[in-house]
């Protein structure tokens, strides 16, 4: 019985396939046959007009196909960048804290996914990417007014403006989330929310506008005054978040008991999974920053991967030599440092340069985290500054060294781009860009911290800190061992 039913299904399927291909085939023939039929018995002028029309139709078809391809990659990239925040960064940071703070730590990142998104729709997209002056965008695009499905050729000619908008949003989410590593285990959830909203308005939006926005002071592709090369956010994302992280760590002070009480990571396993998700997500972050699916995306993708690998080896080697053992935490921290440093350079550099940038960042960030932090004694709890601030700064400056006009002739074909090609001036521009990012982050963050501290207070009470953020801020526990 069952066999007979299967046979009926199979023959039905066969008939459908044959019929389908016959219909499809005849339709295709009709399309190709039409122009030939039209040319018979026409005057030369008519024929040229017909050909021109056909040409225009073809151009439109090609543009539609390219747009579909680019848009597919950009939507995937946007999703990949969101995956970097949750679960990537949430797990990476969550594993590094003590177990009484895991939910509090993960919630800080997750809250950005919700709050920054709403804020982006209301006002920050407009402040970052709307028409404005050299420092900040205007209010033309508040409530996403005018942000439709037609492309904006100044930003990305082949994808809907809404794709560009939502892709950039994912960067605006992860940037403040990175800061949370510096004040882990001791900040009030309420104060953190207010701080982040103000930070998105006062630090992130202007910085993104200056580097990537229309008319921005540092915009390299839209004719800024000091064209700073920042392919995917070395200054906009990593320098701003890393430097702001240092300021918050200094302002809030150390965790209770630091550095006498041991505070080892409660689960390097979680951090390990998080770091691997970050590595994968970073392809969306960097290769997606090509804003298209062509060769530029490929070179950014390749550079990203090579930078991460070299940095992981660099950090591990430094650790192996100095401490006798290469740790898993060291290997993944090095990989993140390399991804940070290659972020501004991806899309501008060759794979070999990417290896160098990664190696320098891996070893450099190891010394920042292990040596420099101990010298100064600040409690940058999860090394947001040591990895993102330091790695971002190194990467931004090294971009000025290694940027190559063959990979991406951003200043015109054959025109020297980086120092190694003979354009020493670019190094200066990179330093200006980094300097502005540092200054804006220091001043902006200090002002915000002061205001929020006066308004609602930044730190949890000593009692709450001892109890842990999970219970004191959220009324729940990450791990329930009793059941």
């Amino acid at each position: 019985m069952r066999l007979r039913v299967a046979k009926v299904y199979l023959s039905l399927l066969f008939v459908l396939i044959v019929a389908g291909s016959a219909i499809g085939g005849s339709r295709m023939m009709a399309q190709t046959a039409a122009p030939v039929a039209m040319t018979g018995g026409m005057s030369q002028g008519d024929r040229i007009a017909a050909l021109e029309k056909q040409n225009a139709d073809n151009a439109a078809l090609i543009a539609a196909a390219q747009s579909a391809g680019d848009n597919a990659w950009m939507l995937v990239s946007a999703a990949l960048v969101l995956m970097m925040s949750g679960p990537g960064l949430a797990l990476f940071y969550g594993g590094l804290v003590r177990k009484k703070n895991i939910l509090g730590t993960m919630m800080q990142t997750f809250a950005m996914m919700a709050v920054i998104t709403v804020l982006w729709a209301l006002v920050t997209y407009s402040l970052a990417f709307g028409e404005g002056n050299a420092f900040i965008g205007g209010l033309h695009n508040v409530f996403l007014k005018g942000v439709g499905l037609a492309p904006d050729p100044k930003y990305a000619a082949t994808i809907p403006l809404q794709t560009f908008m939502v892709y950039q949003l994912m960067f605006a989410i992860i940037t403040p989330a990175l800061i949370t590593g510096a004040f882990a285990e001791r900040m009030k959830f309420s104060a953190m929310l207010v701080f982040m909203v103000l930070w998105a308005l006062i630090v992130y939006s202007p910085m993104a506008h200056m580097v990537w926005g229309k008319g921005g002071l540092l915009n390299a592709s839209l004719g800024g005054r000091f064209p700073t090369l920042d392919f995917a956010g070395g200054t906009v994302v990593h320098v701003t978040s890393g430097v702001s992280a240092l300021i918050t760590a200094l302002y809030l002070g150390k965790r209770l008991g630091y550095p006498k009480v041991p505070m080892p990571p409660h689960s390097v396993v979680l951090s390990f999974i998080g770091a691997c998700l970050l590595w994968v997500g970073w392809f969306g972050f960097n290769a997606g920053s090509a804003l298209s699916a062509g060769a530029l995306a490929t070179s950014a993708f390749v550079a990203t991967h090579f930078g991460a690998a070299a940095a992981s080896i660099g950090w591990s080697a430094a650790e192996w030599i100095r401490q006798g053992k290469p740790s898993a935490l060291g290997a993944i921290s090095g990989c993140v440092a390399g991804l940070v440093a290659i972020t501004p350079a991806a899309g501008f550099v060759t794979p070999m340069s990417a290896l160098w940038i990664g190696l320098i960042a891996g070893v450099g960030c190891y010394f920042m985290v292990v040596k420099v932090k101990a010298w100064f004694g600040y409690d940058d709890s999860l090394d947001a500054f040591g990895v993102h601030g330091a790695g971002g700064t190194m990467g931004a400056i090294l971009t000025g060294v290694f940027a190559n006009s063959v990979v991406y002739p951003i200043f015109g074909a054959g025109k020297a781009t980086g120092l190694l090609e003979g354009n020493a001036h670019q190094l200066l521009n990179q330093i200006v860009g980094v300097g502005i990012a540092w200054s804006l982050s220091i001043v902006g963050t200090l002002v915000i911290l002061f205001v929020v501290d006066k308004m609602i207070g930044l730190r949890v009470s000593e009692e709450d800190e001892r109890e842990g953020l999970d219970l004191s801020q959220h009324g729940e526990e990450g791990y329930d061992w009793a059941h």
Partner: protein, 112 residues
């Protein structure tokens, strides 16, 4: 009746269990524990920071045996759990006054 409490390396649990079953010990209780003896733990490194971990993971095994079985059981445990390195653990022996099987109120050695 005697109670043997043995704190051993977690990796030696299977060997000790097999050795006890071999000599006819019928029941045992296992607890995952943390502790240290004279060795005082070890150090771990996280991002260059040194942490002294003084409480190491151990397994605590409790067995109650008849007086006649005591030395045989101790010998089985020490032989199976010994690596010769520090951290192999310790055995404590104490007297047990009474044993009661809950199912049928049997008392004394027959309840073991």
């Amino acid at each position: 009746m005697q109670k043997i409490e043995a704190v051993i390396q977690p990796s030696k649990l299977d060997a000790v269990k097999d050795a006890l079953v071999e000599i006819g010990v019928e029941g045992m209780t296992i607890t995952e524990a943390r502790g240290h003896g004279r060795q005082k733990g070890h150090t771990e490194f996280y991002r260059g920071r040194e942490y002294a971990i003084d409480l190491l993971p151990k397994v605590k095994l409790e067995v109650v045996v008849t007086d006649a079985m005591l030395e045989k059981a101790i010998a089985a445990i020490t032989t199976a759990a010994r690596t010769g390195a520090i951290g192999d653990g310790k055995i404590f022996v104490s007297k047990i006054d009474e044993a009661i099987r809950i199912r049928n109120d049997e008392r004394g050695e027959i309840a073991l």
